[in-house]
């Protein structure tokens, strides 16, 4: 398969997944606010912090308010990771590989884009409209993944797409967990209160993990939730699950046996995956949840870079 095409399918999936997760971020924060006592100041700054794009936000908007952060993360055309920008990029990528993906996939990503584009042209989405918009974004992304699963041959291109989607999801689950870390910072004394529990529940919900978590662990505890979102081997949004499946796809592409490696992409992904295989939540808490998540994100960036070097780099091979 053409390197450029593989690259486009990979990014098409990353961008769709990214858009979905940004919707999840913002949605969780909206939820948290609704549950919070009115005296609490609105906490939008942490959201920007978790994206890793705080300097850019500061330079464009200054203060973090509900309006400015939501605008920045959803409809800002100049912010490359806003939902709108993600969809624009996803669609551009899809357009450049239309003959490779199924026409149903193209239609879905096109409709998704048009839906977001239309929403962005409305003057101002109100607090009642926003949740349904974010819900629509999530559904559209699920639909895309489902359509891809059901209509595209599970071939090399499909595997590249899957690697893209799963790596993106792993990274974003790490960041969603981090939202809680940033929100907690100002008032550590809230730990263990009813409010704290509500916040953890909201966070689980934003990762679509509440019901599944309940079935597995019943009791809400920070460690339990962190354990679930990082290390659970069955929950499809946990970091460990994502990496496990991404690794499978990567090995299908090159037909390398699992457990060994043939290129830097397989090696770097295998390394971080096996780290998660054997670490416990106690060890994670001990070294600091935020620090651990930071470390995972750095590792994932390395995986992305080595996938690029191994498969997509367009420099002549000779």
């Amino acid at each position: 398969m053409l390197s450029r095409v593989a690259n486009s399918i990979y990014w098409l999936n990353r961008y769709v997944e990214r858009a979905e997760n940004i919707a999840r971020f913002v949605d969780v924060n909206l939820n948290l606010l609704l549950d919070s006592p009115t005296v609490m100041t609105q906490q939008w700054e942490p959201l920007v912090a978790t994206t890793g794009d705080r300097p850019l936000f500061k330079s464009r908007y200054g203060e973090a308010t509900a309006d400015s952060v939501i605008q920045f993360l959803t409809f800002d055309q100049e912010y490359p990771n806003s939902i709108l920008s993600c969809l624009t990029a996803a669609r551009e990528n899809a357009r450049s590989v239309r003959e490779i993906i199924s026409s149903e996939m193209w239609e879905q990503v096109n409709l998704f884009y048009l839906m977001v584009k239309e929403a962005s042209q409305q003057q101002h989405l109100t607090l009642t409209q926003l949740p349904s918009f974010f819900a629509e974004v999530k559904t559209a992304s699920h639909l895309f993944a489902g359509v891809m699963d059901a209509t595209m041959s599970h071939n090399e291109g499909w595997n590249f797409g899957r690697v893209g989607r799963l790596l993106e999801r792993a990274d974003k689950t790490a960041r969603i967990l981090d939202v809680k870390y940033f929100i907690l910072l100002p008032s550590p004394s809230d730990v263990g209160t009813a409010l704290d529990e509500l916040q953890w529940i909201a966070l689980l919900k934003s990762a679509s993990g509440y019901e599944m978590y309940r079935k597995r662990q019943r009791l809400i505890s920070p460690e339990g939730i962190a354990n679930y979102l990082i290390l659970d081997r069955e929950f499809p949004r946990s970091i460990a699950y994502c990496l496990l499946q991404a690794e499978r796809s990567l090995h299908e592409i090159s037909s390398t046996t699992l457990g060994s490696w043939n290129n830097s992409a397989e090696r770097s992904l295998g390394k971080v995956r096996s780290e998660l295989d054997f670490i416990t939540i106690e060890e994670i808490v001990q070294q600091g949840l935020h620090e651990f998540l930071d470390h995972i994100q750095t590792q994932l960036n390395c995986v992305g870079a080595s996938i690029f070097d191994t498969f997509f780099a367009l420099e002549p091979v000779s």
Binding site: M1, L2, S3, R4, V5, A6, E92, R95, S96, R98, E99, I100, S103, W106, E107, N110, L111, E156, F160, I253, F311, F312, L314, P316, V317, S318
Partner: protein, 497 residues
């Protein structure tokens, strides 16, 4: 109901003989449409356009920043051609393509036609599409123009003329296929009752044509479609055709020359490419041989091509035959190479290059259409009767300054087809672009793209100039009434000469 007030007026109408009197081949369709209310028709029109938009059947307009992507406006009232008339056109087109191909093979080879002074050497050598690096090329099977889209029009009397040849990278065939797909859901009953020739085999025929060029002896040659990229106006079509043929769609940056062969970069290393259906113009295809500033092409491709290690469709250098001055000599080419009379007439053409013709053109600018010899897409032309005095004077200046660059033709009163607007049906001018494939034999997709000028009274049908399209139905069984149509076509060419 809908056609009660429809008046074909003083034009050749493709569906009506006269007011209230449909042509026999269109009767069933007119009856069906008349049975629908205007609302129902509008609903079907919206459904059809939505379907096209959802499919992403779009084109880009150059130099237009906002919303560069548009759907090509589509009208649900088709144009109908009876099959015997179509067969006449088919014969004329086959003859023309054969002659043009022999011409290309000749001028890049022995140049007999120039040595025999049938066409002035100076005109060929000054054509912008004439590429000196192509002299001596020997494309596989001696075929140069594998894919052609020839523009045809008919005038007030109903006679057909060739308006121009497009031998470089003619586009639009994807609309033919997608329009048909949409039309089948728009008027299923009509399709059921009429015998409309299918167009769907185009992609298979195209693939056959391309495979025909592969070096002999290769068990599984690699065919690719080469596109300038997603910002090209015809990108949808490039991707569509690659998909329909099941071949890779590549950009220049996917390709490289290694070990003397054209190769594409894949996730598993380099892979050799044998046949390229290129949708990049000659000038841009190899920065080492042609425009050095081209970022779209593949440096060194020309050398590989010359060595016969990769086949290109169309061959490089075919653009010379698109030159509108060269066009004027097609009747002579047909005579010279085939010893036949032209079956399908040219539009009478004045060459500003010749002094007496130029003075005729300058004196009659208000009645003529002036075209630049090497531009297409409705750019660089003057429609005399619709232009202002100032515009005409400006063009006169251009003609005097560069007579080789301009030709003039009488303003044809193009035929019309009823077209659906918001609240009524009105006649709009159309042309027709059939798609011709030259492989083991010459194949012409039945019908072609009917382009329609949607601006009232406008004669310019190009998509970049506010035109739209219609489905084209060739109706009736193949092979009827051959003798009759043959005599008709002779009549046409006689009236021309």
């Amino acid at each position: 109901m809908q056609f009660q007030h429809y008046d074909p007026g003083d034009f050749y109408d493709e569906l009506f003989v006269a007011k209230g009197e449909p042509r026999p081949e269109a009767a069933l369709l007119i009856e069906r449409i008349s049975g629908l209310s205007l609302d129902e028709l509008q609903q079907r029109r919206h459904a059809a356009q939505n379907a096209l938009f959802k499919l992403g059947v779009t084109f880009n307009v150059y130099s237009d920043n906002e919303g560069t992507e548009r759907i090509f406006p589509f009208d649900i009232i088709p144009r109908i051609l009876p099959s015997q008339e179509w067969e006449t056109l088919e014969r004329g087109l086959k003859q023309r393509i054969q002659a043009l191909n022999l011409f290309l093979d000749d001028i890049y080879g022995e140049q007999k036609i120039l040595k025999d002074n049938v066409i002035p050497r100076e005109l060929v050598e000054s054509a912008t599409g004439f590429l000196r690096p192509c002299i001596g090329l020997k494309p596989p099977q001696g075929i140069w123009c594998h894919i052609t889209g020839t523009d045809l029009v008919r005038d007030r009397s109903g006679d057909w003329y060739v308006l121009e040849d497009n031998l470089r990278c003619p586009s639009g065939v994807s609309y033919v296929l997608e329009n048909r797909r949409v039309m089948k859901t728009t008027f299923p009953l009509v399709f059921n009752k009429m015998s409309i020739r299918p167009v769907d085999d185009y992609a298979s025929k195209l693939l056959e044509t391309l495979l025909n060029l592969a070096p002999p002896g290769l068990p599984d040659p690699t065919v690719v479609v080469l596109t300038p990229g997603i910002y090209n106006s015809a990108y949808f079509e490039h991707s569509f055709l690659a998909q329909q043929m099941g071949v890779e769609l590549v950009e220049g940056r996917d390709l490289t020359i290694v070990d003397g062969y054209l190769q594409m970069r894949t996730t598993k290393g380099l892979k050799r490419v044998d046949v390229v259906y290129r949708r990049i113009d000659d000038d841009f295809i190899d920065p080492l041989a042609f425009r050095p500033d081209s970022l779209l092409g593949i440096p060194g491709l020309m050398e590989v091509y010359r060595a016969g290690r990769v086949a290109l469709a169309n061959a490089l250098g075919t653009g010379v035959a698109d030159d509108k001055v060269i066009y004027a000599y097609v009747p002579q080419m047909i005579k010279y190479y085939l010893g036949e009379d032209q079956l399908l007439a040219n539009v009478p053409t004045y060459l500003c290059w010749e002094a007496d013709q130029q003075s005729h053109v300058l004196a009659n600018l208000d009645q003529l259409v002036v075209k630049s010899a090497d531009e297409s897409g409705g750019y660089g032309m003057l429609v005399g009767p619709h232009a202002t005095q100032a515009e005409r004077e400006e063009f006169a200046g251009r003609i005097r300054a560069n007579p080789r660059k301009y030709i003039a033709q009488p303003t044809l009163s193009l035929s019309r087809v009823p077209t659906l607007f918001e609240d009524h049906i009105d006649g709009c001018h159309v042309d027709l672009r059939p798609y011709i494939l030259y492989g083991k034999e010459i194949y012409i997709n039945p019908g072609g793209l009917t382009r329609v000028a949607l601006k009232k009274g406008s004669l310019v049908v190009n998509s970049s100039q506010g035109g739209g399209s219609k489905d084209t139905w060739v109706v009736g069984e193949a092979g009827q009434d051959q003798s009759q149509s043959q005599s008709q076509s002779r009549g046409q060419s006689q009236s021309q000469s």
